[in-house]
């Protein structure tokens, strides 16, 4: 085996490119998870029996499948079944987003249930419709209650983007692995990748506590966030 050495600035550039993909992937995935998870949580809390059942089954099935298996199903199995598939990047976003939606729905369900029954009674007695109550009273409070756990979920999603290397996404871990394979220096490059992950996660935690303080309201939670 012939090993090459890589100049440090090239290595850093490669790692940062990977980190950029990691960020993009994680943001799109968490947003997709939000777009699915929040309605699922509302279905589970306020839906009729059938909707609650559908939501419950969805949550449990998705949470029961390993992320790697979800990726393989989306990227390899579904194209075989239907003839067309998603490009690797979108397969990664969809896989991670769907997986996260099942966890986010649990987070939001907790937040929704933390809204006091009396708040709903007061909103209804003003003459608000169901949707108005959800929009103007339930969500503003439930989202604040959910914020700490939601930021935590984002950090988990961010770290789990590394699994996307299995379907060929060039993200941070993939770049580190590539560098290791051509230089034979596993400690150096994996450590560098780990430091980059850590910096991103710590910055996010800081951002989360800032958001918590800025939008938190005494008595409605959301003020304390920890990674």
């Amino acid at each position: 085996m012939i090993l090459t050495s890589v100049p440090w600035h090239v290595a850093i550039k490669m790692l940062l490119e990977g980190a950029k993909m990691t960020m993009i992937l994680s943001v799109l995935s968490i947003l997709l998870g939000l777009a699915i998870g929040l309605p699922v949580a509302l279905m589970e809390t306020y839906g009729n029996k059938a909707l609650r059942y559908v939501a419950m089954v969805y949550e449990n099935v998705i949470r029961g499948i390993p992320l790697l298996a979800i990726y393989f199903i989306i990227f390899f199995s579904i194209p075989l079944l239907v003839g067309i598939g998603l490009p690797a990047f979108w397969a990664a976003v969809v896989g991670l987003g769907i997986r996260s939606s099942a966890y986010q729905s649990q987070i939001f369900r907790g937040g929704i249930q933390a809204v006091d029954e009396g708040q709903l009674e007061a909103a209804f007695s003003l003459g608000m419709s169901n949707l108005q109550v959800i929009r103007h009273v339930v969500l503003p409070q439930a989202l604040r209650f959910s914020l700490p756990a939601w930021m935590n979920e984002y950090i988990i999603v961010l770290k789990d983007t590394s699994i996307a290397l299995a379907i060929g996404i060039v993200e941070l871990t993939r770049q580190a692995t590539y560098l290791v394979s051509i230089t034979g220096e596993p400690f150096k490059y994996y450590a560098a990748a780990a430091v980059i992950y850590l910096v991103i996660v710590l910055s996010l935690s800081y951002l989360a506590s800032y958001v918590g303080k800025k939008y938190g309201i005494r008595g409605v939670g959301g003020a304390n966030v920890r990674a």
């Binding site: 006091d116 009396g118 708040q119 009674e121 007061a122 909103a123 209804f124 007695s125 003003l126 003459g127 608000m128 419709s129 108005q132 103007h136 009273v137 503003p140 409070q141 604040r144 309201i217 005494r218 008595g219 409605v220």
Partner: protein
């Protein structure tokens, strides 16, 4: 010939007496347990009616049936002549005309005092922000909320202030009647006093009110009529003086005695 006006009156009541709400034979069961067993009474415009009675008598349930926060199992509730239990009634619209004040205030925790009063005006009545602010401030003045409290969140307000915000929130909607569910039970006597003063004010201004309360003193000097609830029915009713000073039935006497004992105890503790 009927006019196109939306304030068309359906004839209900005894003619010239202006009945805002007529409750007929109201029935509610929780599972197999009857809570309301046929309650009937009228609320006249401008009247302050007080409901007293032991816990479990069905007072709160009755109140919640009147704007269908709880669905009754039987009977009729006429609001301006319309039976609000009819299927084709728009209950949201009816509720916007019936104020409700809760025992535990239930002011919206994520909104400031001012925003709490504005939200119904904006979301339900569709008022502009400026119009809503103007009406909200008017309502907050009526409940004597201190101006520096307008921009505070409920967690930063005393219980008495929160309850006054809740009353302002109801008032601002310009309802035809306000229902009060033990509005001072969660407050210590001093803060309860603030709230009772506001309610006395409203009674003088002839705001139509139906009030469930244990405040006998308030009932004596502000109520037009007192209903004593017992066992899911109106056990005894009459003028405040008659019910509170000269009750006819044994259960009413017993209840008033117990209330008196409690307030003597509270007095002694202080």
């Amino acid at each position: 010939m009927p006019t196109l006006g939306h304030e068309e009156e359906t004839p209900v009541g005894t003619g010239h007496r202006d009945v805002v709400m007529r409750i007929e034979n109201l029935v509610k069961n929780f599972g197999k347990k009857p809570v309301l067993r046929g309650v009937s009474f009228d609320i006249t415009r401008g009247e302050t009616k007080v409901v007293i009675g032991p816990s479990g008598a069905g007072k709160s349930t009755m109140l919640r049936c009147l704007n269908r926060l709880i669905e009754p199992d039987g009977g009729k509730i006429f609001f301006n002549g319309v039976n609000i239990l009819d299927r084709n009634v728009n209950i949201h619209e009816i509720r916007s005309k019936i104020g409700f004040v809760f025992q535990h205030f239930n002011v919206f925790k994520h909104l400031t005092a001012l925003e709490n009063v504005k939200i119904g005006l904006k979301v339900v009545k569709g008022l502009s922000d400026d119009e809503a602010t103007e009406k909200a401030i008017k309502a907050l003045k009526m409940v004597h909320l201190e101006e520096d409290a307008y921009d505070r969140y409920p967690a930063e307000l005393s219980g008495g202030q929160q309850q006054r915000v809740a009353i302002a929130r109801a008032l601002a909607m310009e309802p035809e009647i306000i229902l009060f569910d033990e509005p001072t039970s969660a407050l210590d006597p001093q803060l309860a006093g603030e709230v009772l003063d506001v309610m006395r004010d409203l009674a003088k201004k002839k705001v139509t009110m139906l009030i469930v309360t244990h405040e006998i003193g308030f009932a004596l000097n502000a109520a037009d009529e007192v209903l004593f609830f017992y066992n899911g029915v109106i056990w005894e009713r009459g003028s405040p003086n008659d019910i509170l000073h000269r009750p006819k039935r044994e259960e009413t006497k017993e209840f008033l005695q117990r209330i008196a004992d409690i307030s003597v105890l509270q007095e002694a503790e202080r």
